[in-house]
């Protein structure tokens, strides 16, 4: 089995932020495949392999999830709650990192209560976002150990 690029689900409704994050990962030379999904419902559809995502070869489970808090339909918190109550350990154990512009304490606390593995606030300046992606790549993709059966 050849080692593939890690797959990161980026659940983010703002296409500008998607563009910035993609660029920042590139600039930071992080080798990962980033798949953006626009809202919580879409993410759940992907995770259970529903609709267009039924082919697990083409749409494997991600190594990590980067999710925004404020999303249309199901919010980032809803998505965390959904993951937490899944029987399938492969879903339940996916590391989830919040990446949002909300610094609201209530949002932060709720995210951790719902099992978020980390909470990152999007820096405004792009070079800082590159810096964040650099640290992120080193921490999560180089040093972090993953649970079994995810695609890293």
């Amino acid at each position: 089995m050849t080692k593939k690029e890690a797959l990161i689900l980026l659940v983010e409704d703002n296409i500008d932020d998607v563009a910035f994050v993609r660029r920042a990962f590139q600039k930071a030379n992080v080798t990962a495949q980033i798949l953006p999904l626009g809202d919580g419902d879409e993410a759940i559809r992907y995770l259970i392999g529903g609709g267009p995502y039924s082919d697990r070869e083409q749409y494997p489970l991600p190594a990590l999830m980067l999710i925004d808090v404020k999303l249309p339909r199901k919010s980032g918190h809803d998505l965390l709650a959904w993951l937490q109550k899944q029987d399938n350990p492969m879903l339940r154990r996916i590391p989830v990192i919040i990446l949002t512009s909300s610094r609201r304490q209530a949002d932060i606390d709720l995210a951790y209560d719902l099992g978020a593995n980390s909470y990152l606030v999007k820096p405004v300046a792009l070079d800082e976002l590159v810096d964040l992606c650099l640290s992120f790549g080193r921490y999560w993709l180089k040093w972090n150990e993953f649970p079994s059966s995810t695609n890293h």
Partner: protein
């Protein structure tokens, strides 16, 4: 047969005046109490007509009454239903009670009158009546309902307040069961409570302390009430007295306050949500503009001419200004609402942290910042991050408002004041005219164009609001062209 001596002894030891008269109304015998009560010597009385002991105005009538008594003599109290009066030797009158008993003797029918001076008793009765009238008067002017019930919960007292509150006349309810004053749904409960209270050792209790109670008016309508109840046990009979107040109005205003508080709470939450929206939604497109202009500058710099690059810089500066403005506004509104819990803070930590915030600015302008040695030893009552922001903003202004050709020199010092500690930040900047001393602490007040001195016009407003929330004062002293000294005062606890 008792002896004459024993008889005398009995007569003399009697507590009342005893006067024996013959059929002609002449006094045959008196005891010494008679002398005391009427003020005559025995010799003045014996053989004289009984009527001398009676007020003048009754004497004539008495002669006739005496005659009819002798016609059918019985043992009876005299003058039932009438007030009887005796007359002393000095002419003063006094109320009496008399009982009469006929007696046949060898010298014919005689009548023994036992006469009691009831002045004291009458006075006590009068005082009691006056006191009762006073009590009734108090009861009637009371705004509250005062209702007493007996052991069987029959109403025995119902004042005017009760009449007004319940809509019944007292004559309609006296003797009725208390249940008619209570909502039918609660009447059973209530009598259980009264019974329980009757057997408890408590003397008084506030009924509403335990639960909300309700009364029922004559028209059947219910009203919320607050009542206290007391019990009085006399001769094995217990009287319960309730003092009850209709609290409809109070309940209504409580309800109104509750509703208004809920509305305010709602408005506050909306404001909170609004602030959040501003922070998230308003800043998102701003960040996009900022990001793309940065990308253009970084990734496409070779393909842009100098003018385009200049425009990009202006674009970035405008966006940054707007972002700062939004952040400052959010911070200002947050300060107005957030809970500020005061703690004892070391100024050393505060100043250190504040210096970190303005580190970039210090380096950019090559500013010299000095801290007076005693400042780090000062302890003040404040909220850490809020105070750090206050000092940070003062540092930032002190560096910013210095002409470009001058090296900013900032000095922070402290002194003791009656209110606690005064922290002073002095600069060598452009200064502030005295007429602007107050204006500069208001939101959006700027004295200079943002080209000359960039800023949002909110920095000092945040300082003033923050210091106010920490219970302190803020002010400035300045000399135009030479510099300013901004100060804050906080309690030292």
């Amino acid at each position: 047969m008792i002896s004459e001596e024993t008889f005398r002894g009995l007569l003399e030891s009697a507590p009342d005046a005893i006067v024996i008269v013959d059929q002609q109304g002449r006094i045959l015998l008196v005891n010494s109490q008679t002398e005391t009560v009427f003020g005559y010597n025995r010799e003045d009385l014996l053989g004289h007509p009984l009527e001398m002991l009676i007020p003048l105005r009754f004497r004539h009538g008495h002669v006739n009454q005496r005659a009819s008594y002798f016609a059918s003599p019985t043992v009876r109290p005299m003058g039932s239903g009438r007030e009887l009066y005796g007359r002393k030797k000095d002419g003063t009158e006094f109320p009496v009670e008399i009982s009469l008993s006929p007696m046949n003797t060898s010298s014919g029918l005689v009548v023994t009158s036992v006469i009691r001076n009831v002045t004291e008793r009458k006075r006590a009765e009068e005082a009691l009546r006056a006191s009762e009238a006073k009590f009734a008067g108090i009861l009637d002017i009371a705004q509250d309902a005062v209702i007493s019930v007996d052991d069987d919960q029959r109403i025995i007292l119902f004042n005017q307040g009760a009449e007004r509150i319940f809509g019944y006349k007292s004559t309609e309810v006296l003797g009725q069961n208390l249940a008619i004053l209570l909502p039918k749904r609660l009447a059973g409960d209530h009598s259980d409570h009264v019974r329980a209270f009757g057997s408890s050792p408590e003397q008084a209790r506030l009924m509403a302390e335990r639960r909300e109670i309700f009364g029922r008016r004559k028209d059947g309508s219910e009203f919320p009430a607050e009542a206290s109840i007391s019990k009085l046990t006399q001769a094995n009979k217990t009287t319960f007295t309730a003092i009850l107040r209709d609290i409809t109005d109070r309940k209504q205003s409580e309800q109104a306050i509750k509703e208004r508080t809920a509305k305010l709470q709602d408005a506050l939450e909306q404001l909170e949500a609004f602030s959040y929206s501003i922070s998230h939604d308003l800043r998102a497109p701003l960040r996009a503009v900022q990001g793309y202009s940065q990308i253009l500058k970084e990734d496409y710099v070779q393909r842009l001419d100098e003018t385009a690059q200049q425009y990009l810089s202006r674009l970035a500066a405008a966006v940054e200004q707007m972002d700062k403005l939004i952040q400052d506004l959010l911070e200002y509104s947050r300060l107005g609402r957030a809970d500020v819990v005061l703690q004892r803070l070391s100024m050393q930590n505060v100043v250190q942290e504040a210096l970190k915030q303005v580190d970039a600015q210090i380096r950019e302008r090559g500013a010299e910042v000095s801290v007076e040695p005693e400042v780090p030893t000062v302890k003040v009552l404040g909220h850490f991050s809020t105070l750090v922001q206050v000092i940070g903003n003062l540092f930032s202004n002190a560096i910013k408002f210095v002409p470009q050709n001058r090296t900013p020199i900032v000095h922070i010092s402290s002194e003791q004041v009656p209110a606690g500690a005064r922290i002073k930040v002095r600069d060598n900047g452009i200064g502030v005219e005295p007429e602007h001393y107050e204006r500069i602490f208001r939101v959006f007040e700027r004295l200079h164009s943002s080209e000359a001195y960039p800023g949002t016009g909110i920095g000092l407003a945040i300082v003033a609001k923050a210091v106010e929330r920490m219970g302190g004062r803020v002010g400035v002293e300045s000399k135009v062209g030479h510099g300013s000294e901004f100060w804050i005062e906080l309690a030292t606890g």
